[in-house]
Amino acid sequence: MFHALVAVKQVPDTTNIRIDPETGNLVREGVPAIFNPYDAHALAAAVEWKRKLGGKVTVVSMGPPSFIVTLREAIEMGADEAYLVSDRKFAGADTLATSYVLAETIRRLNEQDPVDMIFFGKQAIDGDTAQVGPGVATRLDLPILTYAVKIRDIDLEARKAIVERKTERWVEVVELPLPVMLTCDKEIAEIPFAPLPDLIRSLKYDPEVWTMAGPVEFDRGQVGVRGSPTIVYKMGTPELPEPGEKINTREVGVEAAVREALAKAESAGVLSAVLGGAK
């Protein structure tokens, strides 16, 4: 039996974030919360392999109670069990503190029911840090493959998996022992339509909620703000450079506008490779 564990996060849909032009403040109202897209694909891969090999998929998330929606969505997508690790004391966690809570939770879930493969998204789109996965693997001393794009094989008998990883330069085909952690890119699996029974089950599903009170014994000094070595020191709006000159084709004509623009580029020396030295 295959036991896959997937870490999922709810994120604000950053494509909808905007700044109030009057106040310069972030407009938070109406920004929808979504399932971190990479995590959805990671979950789809876990479910796909569960269907192939038989077994179960457990989903875990650290966050406020509003994350329950996301965990229900995970059930709808084919997860069997979901856990929410949630406590006020976890608030303000940076990646080090987040990886601590997730690692300790996964350690505990593994004691209940040994895990073969842990799936993470390659990054969460709210911060794009891609640090939590490698952090958790380091804490659990597990082998890890980041930027996984394809699972070729999982062999539960021989306790190994063969996975493809995409880097900037090439694709690596890597063999890893189980248990192993993958951080997944979108290509890892297509998100399937939810079968009706999963959909129905998800509507009423309540994830198990774990807190500072247990069952995991968290070290108070390693969670939330206290466990976070980094702090936001200040926030500001980006500086704007001095704008350059505008030439209107409607006033001077296309030919003259282009001539003037090219002349400026030439005198700045940026066309020298194309046209020879600046004049």
């Binding site: 911060g127 890597v174 063999e175 980094t230 980006p238 084709t249």
Partner: protein, 347 residues
């Protein structure tokens, strides 16, 4: 007297240095300069050091010295031939423990991101991802200057400055092309310290069975000197034929804004911006791109920007050196014509 160490991870694959390593040596020298007075007053020494892993890569260590490292720690052995998280991160975490650097900079490449998260966790310290500004500055309550690591947050709408008060090293990852390339100085001198390799093949827990190389052309957007980018204003994917024609004529490469990539008009490797590539060409031509913040953060470091947009109020004009208000389907053909004429006049 103590030594304040500013570290840079020197990234290489198959003997090819990732140029971000040199860019980081450049910033590390700037950070070291920020604390030099403070250090001199206290009788401390400030050094910029590189960490280099690989197999048979000693000559690269020398290159790193030419690009600004005072000293290189070299871990050379077959277990480091290809990057794998465990041998690299465990070895470097040991070095961090041994030498206690104050600051550690790593390129935000696929390799560097993987490594940085693992080292920071093993060293139990803070890591700020994708920084766009770095300086050593005074922070209330801190005895020494701290690393002020600034990065875009909330889709680039806000710049957040992050500090790591107590834990060391203060780690940051930086994307390629955010900082300029330093001069290579072949007269520079430095030490190469060979460190013992303490990990074995068994510790790797990952065997690379095969490497599949891209057959097609690799788009090297980040290091291109000339980029011609198209945006949604082209109205259809066919616009890229014109963009490509201009890029080819200029010996440049094609860039794109995100909506074009999302719509499948062109591949992701062409995307410029916050969730694409940061570029720093000599010439950047933006056609039919409105100039959203997320696009601008990826290209405003270009030496010279020409924007073509039919909306006189498009924000792209705020960062352009020259803005042409007009229809790109009239302007680009005219540009092609004039450039060809100039080339001919020269031949």
């Amino acid at each position: 007297m103590s030594t304040r160490r500013f570290w840079v991870f020197i990234e290489q694959e198959e003997g090819h240095i990732h140029p971000v390593s040199w860019e980081l040596l450049g910033v590390a020298n700037k950070l070291a300069a920020d604390v030099r007075d403070e250090a001199t007053a206290e009788g401390d020494e400030v050094v910029v050091e590189g960490v280099l892993l690989g197999e048979g890569v000693e000559s690269l260590a020398q290159e790193a010295i030419y690009h600004g490292a005072n000293r290189i720690y070299l871990l050379d052995g077959p277990v480091f031939k290809y990057y794998r998280t465990r041998p690299y991160s465990k070895s470097i975490a040991k070095l961090v423990k041994k030498y206690e650097p104050e600051v550690f900079l790593i390129g935000a490449t696929t390799l560097g991101r993987d490594l940085a998260g693992a080292i920071a966790t093993a060293s139990h310290t803070g890591l700020t991802a994708d920084c766009t500004q770095l300086e050593m500055g005074e922070v209330k309550g801190a005895k020494h200057k701290l690393l002020l690591a600034t990065r875009p947050a909330f889709g680039g709408n806000i710049m957040a400055t992050i500090v790591c008060r107590k834990h060391r090293p203060q780690m940051a990852s930086v994307r390629p092309r955010v900082f300029p390339m330093p001069e290579r100085n072949p007269a520079a001198q430095g030490d190469i310290i060979r460190e013992p390799v303490m990990v074995t093949e068994d510790d790797a827990m990952a065997t690379i069975l095969e490497i599949i190389r891209n057959e097609g052309e690799n788009v090297n957007l980040e290091y291109a000197d000339i980029i011609v980018s198209g945006g949604r204003g082209m109205g259809s994917p066919d616009g890229f034929a014109l963009i490509k024609e201009l890029a080819d004529e200029l010996g440049g490469v094609v860039g794109a804004s995100r909506p074009c990539v999302d719509a499948g008009w062109i591949g992701y490797e062409h995307q410029v911006g916050q969730s694409g590539k940061t570029v720093r060409p000599k010439l950047y031509i933006a056609a039919g791109i409105s100039g959203a913040l997320q696009h601008k953060v990826g290209m405003q470091g270009s030496d010279f920007i020409i924007a073509i947009n039919n909306d006189p109020n498009a924000p792209i004009f705020e960062v352009a050196d020259v803005g042409i208000i007009g229809d790109l389907y009239e302007v680009i053909p005219e540009m092609l014509k004039q450039i060809r004429a100039k080339k001919e006049a020269q031949a």
